[in-house]
Amino acid sequence: MGKPIVVNHLTFSYDQQTDVIHDVSFSVEKGSYTTLLGHNGSGKSTIAKLLIGLLEKNTGEILIDGLVLSSDTIQLIRKKIGIVFQNPDNQFIGSTVRDDIAFGLENHLVDPAKMDGIIENYAARVQMSEYLNQEPTRLSGGQKQRVAIAGILAMSPDILILDEATSMLDPEGKEEINNLVEELHRDYNMTILSITHDIEEVKNSDHVIVMYDGKIVLDGKPNDVLNNEKKLVSLKLDVPFSVKLAERLKHYGIDIHNPIDTEGMVDQLCQLRLKK
């Protein structure tokens, strides 16, 4: 089976002079949860916009489910990809939650007789059933993002892209959305590509890609990528606190295995104490 996202030698610039994206290649496995990490302005969001054809590449190639992205295939490809953007206030169209979820379905010419059932099903899936007749403006940020996700689910895409979807939310809202995405990934085997600064989310993902100044600089399992404090700091990023602590413990001769797992680290320290 083909990979849901394949990007080959992609280059993009806004002004035809300085590359915002420079010779980027990566792929995403079917059913995987991939996170895309990078400093502000590293080109992460530009990648998302290129993938769904909101921006047009200069050179290189994007394949979605084996289809080369072009003006001929874009309509087909957009049915396969759902995207949630950063600002929950910028993605509402309907005057009620119900209308908002219906918007995408209407665009895809879904039989109106079936629409209500679909809407109610997905509203329930994101736990927003009781808000269907409310105005979106009255919802919290986390609730708004859940409605946005329901609207996307209603079109049953294979791939869900999150473009810093939780960065404007408070900790509760973040947790709501992270849990929901985690469930969708598990229950529907949905392929997830999440652009994020949330190190906790990166820890829980299958795969992480790190960008710096428009290029991909690291690509691997979170365990391998996040355990390198020096490297990540040089990329203007941060590592989990436990990794920093392990780095300092090393100076005293204490070696911690896989310190991104905080609980595991505490366990290892407890065992060392018993052996003392």
Partner: protein
């Protein structure tokens, strides 16, 4: 005490079925010349509280005293304009409010509004630009052509150009990458130490509270649950759990180790002292 709330209540949409009491008889005195964090769950009244500081909201009951100006429900907003020169409020995601053609014009907007001459406004704008650590050659660029982190700095510079004594920031680091967030917090510490600004920061990030703030105001359900020195607040970890927030990672690990029998000697204030203390306990020192 130049910033004080006395029995302040505020209700949104009063006398309607949607009426919602966001502040309930709040008493609070903010220490001048310090950095105070305002924390609490969503809907606890943090943003409502800070909007009273420059009279964007007027209390329905009680009085707010800010720098010898008394604000109550009877106040005419026109009398409070001068207050906004002394208390600068930076909203969440202020970069969405940049609107001028060039960065320097955007920063000059505030001073010009407060009757500075063009020349004065320009000087203040350049000073603000350097305070927030932006290069002067950005001045003539469009605010749309810079990165998100830079835009946020421009928005903050716009407030600093008014030279307020009190700077209030609602989640100033949301959406910034880790190093951008760190640089932003260091900027506030600098403004506090060198420019002697009183700073209030609404935040959800407990690590920032621990690392950068002097005092912490904890809100819950429209009331002040707690107001004390940061060092005292974190002394008792259960206070943090009370409001369903997470301890900063350093304290979470420390508490966990102590609970599992570790005796961590000496004062553990940062990552280096924690590492040292663990090494000592394990006999590696």
């Amino acid at each position: 005490m130049p910033i004080a709330f006395e029995k302040v209540s505020y209700t949104y949409a009063p006398n309607t079925p949607f009426a919602y009491e966001a502040l309930k008889e709040v008493d609070l005195a903010i220490e001048m010349g310090k950095i105070s964090a305002i924390i609490g769950p969503t809907g606890s009244g943090k943003s409502t509280l800070v909007q009273h500081l420059n009279a964007l909201l007027l209390p329905h009951k009680g009085t707010v005293t800010v720098l010898n100006k008394v604000i109550n429900s009877q106040q005419k907003t026109k009398d409070l304009k001068s207050l906004r020169q002394h208390v600068g409020l930076v909203f969440q995601f202020p970069e969405y409010q940049l609107f001028e053609e060039t960065i320097i014009k955007d920063i000059m907007f505030g001073p010009l509004n407060f009757k500075c001459t063009h020349e004065e406004a320009k000087n203040k704008a350049y000073k603000a630009l350097s305070l927030v650590g932006l290069e002067f050659d950005l001045a003539e660029k469009s605010p749309l052509d810079i990165s998100g982190g830079q835009k946020r700095r421009v928005a903050i510079a716009g407030i600093l150009a008014i030279d307020p004594e009190v700077l209030v920031l609602d989640e100033p680091t949301a959406g910034l990458d880790p190093q951008g967030a760190k640089a932003m917090m260091e900027l506030f510490v600098k403004l506090n130490k060198e420019e002697h600004k009183t700073i209030l920061i609404v935040t959800h990030d407990m690590e920032q509270v621990l690392n950068y703030c002097d005092n912490v105001v904890v809100m819950q359900d429209g009331k002040i649950l707690n107001h004390q020195r940061v060092s005292d607040y974190f002394e008792r970890g259960n206070q943090v759990n009370e409001i369903h927030m997470h301890l900063p990672p350093i304290l979470a690990i420390k508490e966990d180790l102590i609970e599992k029998g570790f005796k961590l000697e000496g004062e553990v204030t940062d990552i280096d002292t924690l590492a040292k203390s663990i090494a000592k306990e394990l006999g590696y020192e």
